[in-house]
Symmetry: C2
Subunit: 231 residues, 2 copies
């Protein structure tokens, strides 16, 4: 098939949580697509710069030659276009607002705190950041109890918007746990989330698109080494 | 009517762009509601802390005693609940994604730059920030041309999501222009936006909820003076 005939393309990277979540959304809806690996950190392709000239970031979904940017918005788009498959967002407006609230919280508040872990200059600073990351997880535990209503996922019986968005960070949570000798997702402190994590990682939609933890760890060490040598 | 019988309440502040945009959304949909003025900067009420325990911020829409937080999400909620009135978001998924892209850009990229104006330490730093604010407006000019398709508003014949979100900052744009002796919205550089601004400010949905520029300026000077005296 010639590239111009391909209806759905995803410009992404195997290691990016933002890209992984879009892959999960497409998989949930059984949308056939071409995955185009872009360089995560540098040497952005002309194709990416043309598709996302404002933010110059992956992921970009290209559907009928039109680019859709920003992973949360791409998931909403997928849900609105491919209405045949299982829903990503709930149908009730209040539940939709709640799902959007938590995905926004995860991306704008919780994840930026987790990113600070790398920058923490000493053990004390690191402990403070870890405390905040865990505070966020405790809030998300309460959100899980409320949203799942005793079922397996935030989305109920199936994975939904919050599952996909929070779950997309799992690979990096595992890397940080491994590198820092930490336990972020703890069965005693956040039993709901710990159980959810296991179910999520073995879900059909997830396991095929989720990167190998060892491969992610290797990638992390490589990027870190490159940063140190160019600093 | 006893407060518990009121179906829709808005915890907001007359001077907050985030609150003003929700007022516009409710007005567009002709939703009767009780407006509850909250302190913008300090002394947060127990009511607000209970309604938005995570971010502790206005606006919060309370509908059937359930709180909905985050202004962009509240506008989506209003659009989904009160479907009888004019639409806030477009119906086409690609146009919805585009509208969400620009509202997210405005709130997360453009407005944070504008906020730096206050912190600029000297004329050079100020000129750099102004340059970036204007760069953003030039992007928004192009977005206006694309989204409005020759009609009056981003939303076409009527005000929509981008109109409400960008327009909610108008009061503060005018304050910054007035305080700094600037012209941010310029008819030569961004003719589409300049014309749009006039139409927007005289629109039914807008003019009744929009604060008087002189009142906003007074408020700005008061807050600034309070900051200086407490620094």
């Amino acid at each position: 098939m010639a590239p111009s005939d391909v209806k759905v393309q995803l410009l992404g990277s195997w290691a990016s949580p933002f890209s992984i979540r879009v892959q999960m959304g497409l998989k949930l809806k059984s949308v056939e697509h071409e995955f185009i690996e872009e360089n995560f950190y540098s040497n952005k392709s002309d194709r990416l710069l043309k598709a996302n000239p404002i933010h110059k970031k992956i992921p970009v979904l290209i559907h009928s030659q039109k680019p859709i940017c920003e992973s949360l918005l791409i998931l909403e788009y997928i849900d609105e276009v491919w209405t045949d498959g299982p829903s990503i967002l709930p149908s009730d407006p209040y539940e939709r607002a709640t799902a959007r609230f938590w995905t926004t919280y995860i991306d704008q508040t919780w994840f930026p705190i987790m990113k600070e872990l790398e920058k923490a200059a000493n053990d004390e600073a690191k402990a403070t950041v870890i405390g905040k990351v865990i505070e966020g997880l405790v809030l998300l535990e309460a959100a899980f109890v409320k949203c799942s209503k005793g079922k397996s996922f935030f989305g109920g019986d199936n994975v939904g918007y919050i599952d996909i968005v929070l779950g997309s960070y799992f690979g990096w949570i595992k890397v940080l746990e491994s590198v820092g000798g930490l336990k972020l997702l703890d069965g005693t402190r956040t039993p709901g989330l710990a159980g959810w994590a296991e179910r999520f990682l073995s879900h059909n939609v997830v396991k095929d698109v989720f990167p190998e933890p060892s491969k992610l760890l290797e990638f992390y060490m490589m990027v870190k080494a490159a940063r140190v040598s160019s600093a």
